[in-house]
Symmetry: C3
Subunit: 138 residues, 3 copies
Protein backbone atom coordinates (compact mmCIF):
# COMPACT_ATOMS: atom_id res chain seq x y z
CA UNK A 1 0.00 0.00 0.00
CA UNK A 2 1.26 3.48 -0.91
CA UNK A 3 -0.39 6.78 0.04
CA UNK A 4 0.92 10.19 -0.94
CA UNK A 5 -0.10 13.57 0.36
CA UNK A 6 1.34 17.04 -0.02
CA UNK A 7 1.16 19.42 2.95
CA UNK A 8 1.87 23.14 2.90
CA UNK A 9 3.81 24.87 5.66
CA UNK A 10 3.83 28.65 5.87
CA UNK A 11 7.07 29.97 7.36
CA UNK A 12 7.55 33.46 8.83
CA UNK A 13 11.32 33.78 8.96
CA UNK A 14 14.52 31.77 9.40
CA UNK A 15 13.45 29.36 12.08
CA UNK A 16 12.55 25.75 12.93
CA UNK A 17 8.88 24.71 12.67
CA UNK A 18 7.61 21.62 14.48
CA UNK A 19 5.61 19.52 11.97
CA UNK A 20 5.38 16.35 14.09
CA UNK A 21 1.62 16.66 14.63
CA UNK A 22 0.99 17.12 10.91
CA UNK A 23 2.88 13.90 10.25
CA UNK A 24 1.02 12.04 13.01
CA UNK A 25 -2.30 13.14 11.45
CA UNK A 26 -1.39 12.08 7.92
CA UNK A 27 -0.35 8.61 9.10
CA UNK A 28 -3.45 8.26 11.26
CA UNK A 29 -5.88 9.35 8.53
CA UNK A 30 -4.28 7.00 6.01
CA UNK A 31 -4.73 4.11 8.45
CA UNK A 32 -1.21 2.72 8.34
CA UNK A 33 0.02 0.44 11.13
CA UNK A 34 3.56 -0.54 10.15
CA UNK A 35 5.87 0.88 7.51
CA UNK A 36 7.75 4.01 6.54
CA UNK A 37 6.79 7.65 6.38
CA UNK A 38 8.99 9.43 3.86
CA UNK A 39 9.09 13.23 3.95
CA UNK A 40 10.47 15.31 1.09
CA UNK A 41 10.67 19.10 0.89
CA UNK A 42 10.40 20.36 -2.68
CA UNK A 43 12.78 23.28 -2.20
CA UNK A 44 16.54 23.90 -2.01
CA UNK A 45 16.57 26.55 0.73
CA UNK A 46 14.71 24.77 3.55
CA UNK A 47 15.29 21.34 5.08
CA UNK A 48 13.77 18.60 7.24
CA UNK A 49 15.44 17.53 10.48
CA UNK A 50 14.92 15.46 13.58
CA UNK A 51 15.72 17.54 16.66
CA UNK A 52 15.44 17.50 20.42
CA UNK A 53 11.94 18.77 21.19
CA UNK A 54 12.05 19.77 24.88
CA UNK A 55 14.43 22.71 25.29
CA UNK A 56 14.10 25.57 22.75
CA UNK A 57 17.74 26.59 23.31
CA UNK A 58 18.74 23.48 21.36
CA UNK A 59 17.20 25.04 18.28
CA UNK A 60 18.59 28.53 18.90
CA UNK A 61 22.06 27.02 19.43
CA UNK A 62 21.59 25.08 16.20
CA UNK A 63 20.84 28.33 14.43
CA UNK A 64 23.97 29.95 15.85
CA UNK A 65 26.38 27.15 14.98
CA UNK A 66 25.05 27.15 11.42
CA UNK A 67 25.47 30.93 11.22
CA UNK A 68 29.09 30.44 12.25
CA UNK A 69 29.83 27.58 9.83
CA UNK A 70 28.03 29.18 6.86
CA UNK A 71 27.80 32.96 7.47
CA UNK A 72 25.29 35.13 5.63
CA UNK A 73 26.93 37.59 3.27
CA UNK A 74 30.26 35.77 3.25
CA UNK A 75 32.48 37.20 0.46
CA UNK A 76 33.23 33.58 -0.54
CA UNK A 77 29.88 33.36 -2.33
CA UNK A 78 29.14 34.35 -5.94
CA UNK A 79 25.48 33.31 -5.82
CA UNK A 80 23.99 36.34 -4.06
CA UNK A 81 21.10 37.26 -6.38
CA UNK A 82 18.44 36.96 -3.70
CA UNK A 83 20.47 38.50 -0.89
CA UNK A 84 23.04 37.56 1.76
CA UNK A 85 20.98 34.57 2.98
CA UNK A 86 20.57 33.07 -0.53
CA UNK A 87 23.65 30.85 -0.85
CA UNK A 88 23.85 30.01 2.90
CA UNK A 89 20.24 28.74 2.63
CA UNK A 90 21.25 26.30 -0.14
CA UNK A 91 24.29 25.08 1.79
CA UNK A 92 22.39 24.69 5.08
CA UNK A 93 19.73 22.67 3.23
CA UNK A 94 22.31 20.34 1.69
CA UNK A 95 24.08 19.85 5.03
CA UNK A 96 20.83 19.03 6.85
CA UNK A 97 18.99 17.32 3.97
CA UNK A 98 15.69 17.63 2.16
CA UNK A 99 14.58 14.01 2.57
CA UNK A 100 13.78 12.23 5.82
CA UNK A 101 12.37 8.77 6.51
CA UNK A 102 10.73 7.79 9.80
CA UNK A 103 9.44 4.30 10.63
CA UNK A 104 5.73 3.82 11.36
CA UNK A 105 4.97 1.50 14.28
CA UNK A 106 1.59 0.86 15.89
CA UNK A 107 0.06 3.55 13.70
CA UNK A 108 2.44 6.33 14.75
CA UNK A 109 5.87 7.65 13.76
CA UNK A 110 8.32 5.60 15.87
CA UNK A 111 10.12 8.63 17.27
CA UNK A 112 12.22 8.56 20.41
CA UNK A 113 10.93 10.40 23.48
CA UNK A 114 12.86 13.59 22.69
CA UNK A 115 12.62 13.55 18.90
CA UNK A 116 10.49 16.00 16.96
CA UNK A 117 10.23 16.47 13.20
CA UNK A 118 11.06 20.03 12.13
CA UNK A 119 11.02 22.01 8.93
CA UNK A 120 14.00 24.34 9.03
CA UNK A 121 13.45 27.52 7.04
CA UNK A 122 16.83 28.89 6.01
CA UNK A 123 15.63 32.05 4.22
CA UNK A 124 15.07 35.16 6.34
CA UNK A 125 11.75 36.01 4.66
CA UNK A 126 8.43 34.10 4.79
CA UNK A 127 7.88 31.26 2.33
CA UNK A 128 5.15 28.74 1.58
CA UNK A 129 6.86 25.35 1.65
CA UNK A 130 5.60 22.12 0.08
CA UNK A 131 6.34 18.85 1.84
CA UNK A 132 5.47 15.61 0.06
CA UNK A 133 4.61 12.79 2.45
CA UNK A 134 4.73 9.24 1.06
CA UNK A 135 3.57 6.38 3.27
CA UNK A 136 4.14 2.74 2.47
CA UNK A 137 3.60 -0.41 4.41
CA UNK A 138 0.45 -1.93 5.78
Amino acid sequence: MVVQERVQIQTQDRNTYDITNRVVEVISQAGFTTGICQLFIQHTSASLILCENADPTVRSDLERIMARLVPDGDPLFDHTMEGPDDMPAHIRSILTKMDLSVPIRQGRPALGTWQGIYLWEHRTHPHQRQVMITLYGE
Copy 2:
Protein backbone atom coordinates in the same frame (compact mmCIF):
# COMPACT_ATOMS: atom_id res chain seq x y z
CA MET B 1 6.11 -7.36 2.86
CA VAL B 2 7.21 -5.25 5.85
CA VAL B 3 9.22 -6.47 8.83
CA GLN B 4 10.26 -4.31 11.75
CA GLU B 5 12.74 -5.06 14.48
CA ARG B 6 14.34 -2.98 17.19
CA VAL B 7 17.95 -3.67 18.13
CA GLN B 8 19.81 -2.30 21.13
CA ILE B 9 23.38 -1.10 20.95
CA GLN B 10 25.34 -0.45 24.13
CA THR B 11 27.92 2.31 23.67
CA GLN B 12 30.91 2.92 25.96
CA ASP B 13 31.96 6.44 25.01
CA ARG B 14 32.08 8.88 22.10
CA ASN B 15 33.04 6.57 19.29
CA THR B 16 31.88 4.78 16.13
CA TYR B 17 30.40 1.27 16.47
CA ASP B 18 30.23 -1.06 13.48
CA ILE B 19 26.69 -2.48 13.28
CA THR B 20 26.97 -3.97 9.77
CA ASN B 21 26.79 -7.58 10.99
CA ARG B 22 23.67 -6.88 13.05
CA VAL B 23 22.00 -5.48 9.94
CA VAL B 24 23.12 -8.45 7.83
CA GLU B 25 21.59 -10.81 10.41
CA VAL B 26 18.25 -9.02 10.60
CA ILE B 27 17.86 -9.08 6.80
CA SER B 28 18.90 -12.72 6.62
CA GLN B 29 16.56 -13.87 9.40
CA ALA B 30 13.62 -12.00 7.85
CA GLY B 31 14.28 -13.76 4.54
CA PHE B 32 14.29 -10.70 2.27
CA THR B 33 15.88 -10.90 -1.18
CA THR B 34 15.32 -7.46 -2.73
CA GLY B 35 14.20 -4.22 -1.17
CA ILE B 36 15.21 -1.57 1.33
CA CYS B 37 16.58 -1.73 4.86
CA GLN B 38 15.72 1.46 6.70
CA LEU B 39 17.58 2.22 9.92
CA PHE B 40 16.40 4.81 12.41
CA ILE B 41 18.04 5.76 15.70
CA GLN B 42 15.51 6.91 18.29
CA HIS B 43 17.78 9.51 19.89
CA THR B 44 19.03 13.02 19.18
CA SER B 45 22.63 12.65 20.37
CA ALA B 46 23.83 9.68 18.31
CA SER B 47 23.66 9.08 14.55
CA LEU B 48 23.92 6.46 11.80
CA ILE B 49 26.54 6.75 9.09
CA LEU B 50 28.14 4.86 6.25
CA CYS B 51 31.91 4.99 6.57
CA GLU B 52 35.07 3.49 5.13
CA ASN B 53 35.59 0.22 7.02
CA ALA B 54 39.25 -0.69 6.40
CA ASP B 55 41.46 1.92 8.03
CA PRO B 56 40.55 2.95 11.61
CA THR B 57 42.28 6.33 11.15
CA VAL B 58 39.35 7.34 8.91
CA ARG B 59 37.12 7.21 11.96
CA SER B 60 39.59 8.92 14.30
CA ASP B 61 40.06 11.69 11.70
CA LEU B 62 36.29 11.97 11.44
CA GLU B 63 36.12 12.44 15.19
CA ARG B 64 38.77 15.17 15.06
CA ILE B 65 37.22 17.18 12.23
CA MET B 66 33.88 17.11 14.04
CA ALA B 67 35.56 18.27 17.25
CA ARG B 68 36.98 21.19 15.31
CA LEU B 69 33.72 22.14 13.57
CA VAL B 70 31.54 21.74 16.67
CA PRO B 71 33.78 22.03 19.77
CA ASP B 72 32.68 20.69 23.14
CA GLY B 73 32.16 23.44 25.70
CA ASP B 74 31.99 26.21 23.11
CA PRO B 75 30.72 29.43 24.75
CA LEU B 76 28.33 29.79 21.79
CA PHE B 77 25.99 27.24 23.35
CA ASP B 78 23.19 27.91 25.85
CA HIS B 79 22.05 24.28 26.03
CA THR B 80 24.65 22.90 28.44
CA MET B 81 22.48 21.14 31.04
CA GLU B 82 24.08 17.74 30.55
CA GLY B 83 27.63 18.99 30.14
CA PRO B 84 30.02 20.33 27.49
CA ASP B 85 29.24 17.47 25.06
CA ASP B 86 25.43 17.96 25.26
CA MET B 87 24.77 20.51 22.52
CA PRO B 88 27.63 19.33 20.27
CA ALA B 89 26.05 15.84 20.38
CA HIS B 90 22.75 17.24 19.06
CA ILE B 91 24.48 19.19 16.29
CA ARG B 92 26.71 16.28 15.24
CA SER B 93 23.64 14.04 15.07
CA ILE B 94 21.77 16.51 12.85
CA LEU B 95 24.78 16.96 10.56
CA THR B 96 25.27 13.21 10.15
CA LYS B 97 21.61 12.11 10.38
CA MET B 98 19.49 9.72 12.40
CA ASP B 99 17.93 7.89 9.43
CA LEU B 100 19.71 5.76 6.86
CA SER B 101 18.40 3.59 4.03
CA VAL B 102 20.42 0.82 2.40
CA PRO B 103 19.23 -1.28 -0.55
CA ILE B 104 18.86 -5.05 -0.10
CA ARG B 105 20.12 -7.14 -3.02
CA GLN B 106 20.47 -10.92 -3.17
CA GLY B 107 19.54 -11.12 0.50
CA ARG B 108 22.23 -8.77 1.76
CA PRO B 109 22.74 -5.01 2.23
CA ALA B 110 24.10 -3.81 -1.13
CA LEU B 111 27.10 -2.04 0.37
CA GLY B 112 30.20 -1.10 -1.58
CA THR B 113 33.42 -2.99 -0.80
CA TRP B 114 34.64 -0.38 1.67
CA GLN B 115 31.32 0.65 3.21
CA GLY B 116 30.35 -0.24 6.74
CA ILE B 117 27.28 0.84 8.72
CA TYR B 118 28.21 2.62 11.96
CA LEU B 119 26.38 3.97 14.94
CA TRP B 120 28.17 7.14 15.97
CA GLU B 121 27.84 7.87 19.69
CA HIS B 122 28.31 11.60 20.23
CA ARG B 123 28.00 11.64 24.03
CA THR B 124 31.15 11.01 26.06
CA HIS B 125 29.40 8.65 28.50
CA PRO B 126 27.93 5.17 27.83
CA HIS B 127 24.36 4.94 26.51
CA GLN B 128 21.97 2.21 25.49
CA ARG B 129 20.80 3.13 21.99
CA GLN B 130 17.68 1.89 20.21
CA VAL B 131 17.83 1.39 16.47
CA MET B 132 14.61 0.55 14.64
CA ILE B 133 15.15 -1.52 11.52
CA THR B 134 12.33 -1.62 8.96
CA LEU B 135 12.64 -3.95 5.98
CA TYR B 136 10.36 -3.81 2.97
CA GLY B 137 10.47 -5.51 -0.37
CA GLU B 138 10.24 -9.17 -1.26
Copy 3:
Protein backbone atom coordinates in the same frame (compact mmCIF):
# COMPACT_ATOMS: atom_id res chain seq x y z
CA MET C 1 6.40 -3.97 -6.55
CA VAL C 2 10.18 -3.53 -6.22
CA VAL C 3 12.59 -2.88 -9.10
CA GLN C 4 16.32 -2.48 -8.70
CA GLU C 5 18.84 -1.22 -11.19
CA ARG C 6 22.49 -0.24 -10.94
CA VAL C 7 23.74 2.67 -13.05
CA GLN C 8 27.35 3.65 -13.63
CA ILE C 9 28.51 7.25 -13.62
CA GLN C 10 31.94 8.13 -14.92
CA THR C 11 33.39 11.18 -13.17
CA GLN C 12 36.26 13.32 -14.47
CA ASP C 13 37.31 15.25 -11.40
CA ARG C 14 36.00 16.77 -8.17
CA ASN C 15 32.69 18.15 -9.34
CA THR C 16 28.91 17.79 -9.27
CA TYR C 17 27.24 15.66 -11.97
CA ASP C 18 23.55 16.06 -12.77
CA ILE C 19 21.96 12.58 -12.81
CA THR C 20 18.32 13.72 -12.81
CA ASN C 21 17.65 12.49 -16.34
CA ARG C 22 19.08 9.06 -15.58
CA VAL C 23 16.71 8.79 -12.64
CA VAL C 24 13.74 9.97 -14.72
CA GLU C 25 14.55 7.27 -17.31
CA VAL C 26 14.84 4.44 -14.80
CA ILE C 27 11.47 5.31 -13.23
CA SER C 28 9.82 5.67 -16.63
CA GLN C 29 11.18 2.38 -17.99
CA ALA C 30 10.10 0.50 -14.86
CA GLY C 31 6.58 1.89 -15.28
CA PHE C 32 6.07 3.18 -11.73
CA THR C 33 3.34 5.76 -11.04
CA THR C 34 3.50 6.37 -7.29
CA GLY C 35 6.14 5.42 -4.74
CA ILE C 36 9.72 6.04 -3.75
CA CYS C 37 12.96 6.11 -5.71
CA GLN C 38 15.84 5.28 -3.40
CA LEU C 39 19.36 6.11 -4.60
CA PHE C 40 22.47 4.67 -2.98
CA ILE C 41 26.07 5.29 -3.96
CA GLN C 42 28.30 2.29 -3.20
CA HIS C 43 31.36 4.35 -2.29
CA THR C 44 32.67 6.40 0.65
CA SER C 45 34.28 9.27 -1.27
CA ALA C 46 31.36 10.51 -3.39
CA SER C 47 27.84 11.47 -2.37
CA LEU C 48 24.30 12.13 -3.64
CA ILE C 49 22.66 15.51 -3.12
CA LEU C 50 19.66 17.57 -4.12
CA CYS C 51 20.80 21.00 -5.34
CA GLU C 52 19.53 24.12 -7.04
CA ASN C 53 19.74 23.37 -10.77
CA ALA C 54 19.55 26.80 -12.45
CA ASP C 55 22.65 28.81 -11.53
CA PRO C 56 26.01 26.98 -11.76
CA THR C 57 27.55 29.35 -9.20
CA VAL C 58 25.50 27.55 -6.53
CA ARG C 59 27.56 24.46 -7.16
CA SER C 60 30.89 26.30 -7.36
CA ASP C 61 30.06 28.10 -4.08
CA LEU C 62 29.18 24.73 -2.57
CA GLU C 63 32.59 23.44 -3.60
CA ARG C 64 34.30 26.44 -2.01
CA ILE C 65 32.50 26.28 1.33
CA MET C 66 33.30 22.59 1.59
CA ALA C 67 36.96 23.31 0.79
CA ARG C 68 36.95 25.79 3.66
CA LEU C 69 35.22 23.51 6.18
CA VAL C 70 37.23 20.40 5.27
CA PRO C 71 40.50 21.51 3.62
CA ASP C 72 42.54 19.14 1.47
CA GLY C 73 45.91 18.32 2.99
CA ASP C 74 44.95 19.53 6.46
CA PRO C 75 47.59 18.40 8.99
CA LEU C 76 44.71 17.24 11.22
CA PHE C 77 44.35 14.08 9.12
CA ASP C 78 46.24 10.79 9.58
CA HIS C 79 44.47 9.00 6.74
CA THR C 80 46.42 10.36 3.77
CA MET C 81 47.36 7.18 1.90
CA GLU C 82 45.70 8.20 -1.34
CA GLY C 83 46.69 11.86 -1.20
CA PRO C 84 45.54 15.20 0.25
CA ASP C 85 41.95 14.74 -1.01
CA ASP C 86 41.56 11.25 0.51
CA MET C 87 40.25 12.00 4.01
CA PRO C 88 38.37 15.17 2.98
CA ALA C 89 36.49 13.02 0.42
CA HIS C 90 35.32 10.64 3.17
CA ILE C 91 34.22 13.52 5.42
CA ARG C 92 32.43 15.41 2.61
CA SER C 93 30.58 12.19 1.72
CA ILE C 94 29.44 11.64 5.30
CA LEU C 95 28.33 15.27 5.67
CA THR C 96 26.32 15.16 2.43
CA LYS C 97 25.25 11.50 2.54
CA MET C 98 25.40 8.45 0.32
CA ASP C 99 21.68 7.63 0.39
CA LEU C 100 18.83 9.74 -1.00
CA SER C 101 15.11 9.05 -1.34
CA VAL C 102 12.84 10.95 -3.72
CA PRO C 103 9.07 10.42 -4.02
CA ILE C 104 7.63 9.23 -7.33
CA ARG C 105 4.41 10.98 -8.39
CA GLN C 106 2.61 10.66 -11.70
CA GLY C 107 5.46 8.56 -13.04
CA ARG C 108 8.20 11.08 -12.33
CA PRO C 109 10.46 12.08 -9.41
CA ALA C 110 8.43 14.67 -7.47
CA LEU C 111 11.18 17.28 -7.46
CA GLY C 112 10.59 20.97 -6.86
CA THR C 113 11.06 23.34 -9.79
CA TRP C 114 14.67 24.15 -8.87
CA GLN C 115 15.75 20.76 -7.57
CA GLY C 116 18.19 18.53 -9.44
CA ILE C 117 19.74 15.24 -8.33
CA TYR C 118 23.54 15.35 -8.36
CA LEU C 119 26.35 12.93 -7.79
CA TRP C 120 29.11 14.84 -6.02
CA GLU C 121 32.56 13.44 -6.76
CA HIS C 122 34.87 14.38 -3.90
CA ARG C 123 38.08 12.86 -5.26
CA THR C 124 40.20 15.00 -7.58
CA HIS C 125 40.81 12.15 -10.06
CA PRO C 126 38.29 10.36 -12.35
CA HIS C 127 36.31 7.45 -10.91
CA GLN C 128 33.64 5.05 -12.12
CA ARG C 129 30.83 5.29 -9.58
CA GLN C 130 28.07 2.75 -8.99
CA VAL C 131 24.65 4.04 -7.97
CA MET C 132 22.01 1.49 -6.96
CA ILE C 133 18.47 2.64 -7.71
CA THR C 134 15.64 0.85 -5.90
CA LEU C 135 12.04 1.70 -6.84
CA TYR C 136 9.05 0.59 -4.84
CA GLY C 137 5.41 1.47 -5.03
CA GLU C 138 2.91 0.86 -7.78
